[in-house]
């Protein structure tokens, strides 16, 4: 049964990282496009992009934390 836990932990971690990667990828694309349209707003866009990226990564880390509990 422990092997099942470790297998599911690996799968879960991979899925969590896929979600985070897709989310932050879309975020970066939108931020860069907006910066391209209006270069004066680039610095405020940068601040907001970093905040949103940290929030999305936080959600991915919740999933990762559960995977660690499953594996250990």
């Amino acid at each position: 049964m422990e092997n099942l836990g470790m297998l599911s932990a690996g799968l879960g971690a991979g899925l969590a990282v896929i979600g985070a990667g897709l989310g932050i990828g879309k975020l970066a694309a939108a931020a860069l496009e907006a910066a391209g349209r209006q270069p004066e707003a680039a610095s405020s866009l940068q601040t907001m992009m970093i905040i949103a990226a940290a929030l999305i990564e936080g959600v991915a880390f919740f999933g990762l934390f559960i995977c660690f509990k499953m594996a250990g």
């Binding site: 422990e2 905040i51 940290a54 936080g58």
Partner: protein, 322 residues
């Protein structure tokens, strides 16, 4: 680096008592947790005192060794249990290595800040020089972009600025302590980040109650919806009141621990292969992740402070938009 020693020790320990496959991970997580003595590069350099509160009495022991010899407690799988009935003590208030590093961070901050403040007190009109430049740029960054940007009223913002500065600098220094060899990250433990989040919880709610009054604060719980929805909305808002600081705690703790776990696991792979050819690319990769972790240390301090100030600003009146 210290990580190789810890990874090597972890693999040896786990291969020695390998009842089931989950042991390396448990040893790894235990290595990142708090210990009851100061270990640098896997050598114990100083034992730390153990303070237990059990059955209404405080017990002091100067080290794990003296506790095992004289007292009624013993270590079992990295937990302190009573020798008689294997029950855990009520409260473990020991000075572990994480507490030690928190105190180191606090003393470092007090030293630097008092030095810079002294320079400003002596010569207020002089242009900043040396250490003042860095500290002043960080302080102005926190004050202008984090506190004043999110809290509408100037006097509330100025009253809360010391709190936000303390939180930001403490989390940043505590995160960076884990980056120097031989240091353990205090904020890599859920209890520490939960304590910081509890202070944020009190600041968020107390500021709202003090500035707006209890009636207006309770009105915020309804979030401006029709009265027929209140029975749904109010429990959700109350849960949100507790969940938001909890999520802050988990985010900080998970970010700090995950970086270290990745680095340990990668260095453990070198010991798996036991060749030099595997060592070179893996070390380069670990260096890359180490640099990312330096950025993450600053970013997580910034995010914690920024989100706390956003939550404070959300609870206060928005001025003209309500």
């Amino acid at each position: 680096m210290s990580k190789e020693h810890i990874a090597e020790n972890t693999l040896e320990e786990s291969s020695q008592h390998n009842e089931h496959g989950g042991d390396p991970i448990k040893e790894l997580l235990n290595g990142l947790g708090d210990h009851h003595d100061l270990t640098v590069f896997n050598h114990v350099i100083a034992p730390l005192p153990i303070i237990l509160y059990d059955d209404g009495g405080l017990h002091f022991y100067s080290s794990v060794h003296s506790m095992e010899e004289t007292g009624d407690y013993t270590m079992e799988h990295h937990h302190i249990v009573k020798k008689s009935d294997h029950s855990s003590p009520d409260l473990n208030l020991s000075i572990t290595n994480l507490v030690f590093f928190e105190v180191v961070a606090a003393i470092f901050l007090i030293f630097i800040m008092s030095k810079v403040a002294g320079k400003y007190k002596k010569n207020p009109m002089k242009a900043p020089s040396g250490l003042q430049n860095i500290v002043e740029s960080f302080v102005t960054f926190v004050r202008d972009d984090i506190v004043r940007a999110n809290i509408p009223r100037r006097e509330t913002a100025d009253r809360l600025t010391p709190y936000f500065l303390s939180i930001f600098f403490f989390i940043y220094v505590a995160n960076m302590i884990g980056m120097i060899p031989g240091g353990h990250t205090p904020t890599g433990n859920f209890s520490v980040t939960l304590a910081l989040a509890i202070t944020a919880f009190f600041v968020i709610n107390y500021t709202a109650i003090k500035d707006e009054g209890i009636g207006h604060y309770l009105a915020h719980l309804t979030a401006g919806t029709h009265w027929s929805l209140w029975i749904l909305i109010i429990p959700i808002e109350i849960m949100g009141m507790f969940i938001k600081p909890g999520v802050l705690a988990i985010r900080l703790f998970a970010n700090m621990t995950a970086g270290h776990i990745i680095m340990f696991a990668l260095i453990g792979v070198i010991f798996l292969y036991k060749t030099v050819i595997a060592g070179i690319p893996i070390t380069a990769f670990v260096l890359f992740i180490y640099l990312i972790e330096l950025l993450v240390a600053f970013l997580q301090a910034f995010i914690f402070t920024m989100l706390t100030s956003i939550f404070v600003g959300l609870n206060l009146s928005h001025g003209e938009s309500h």
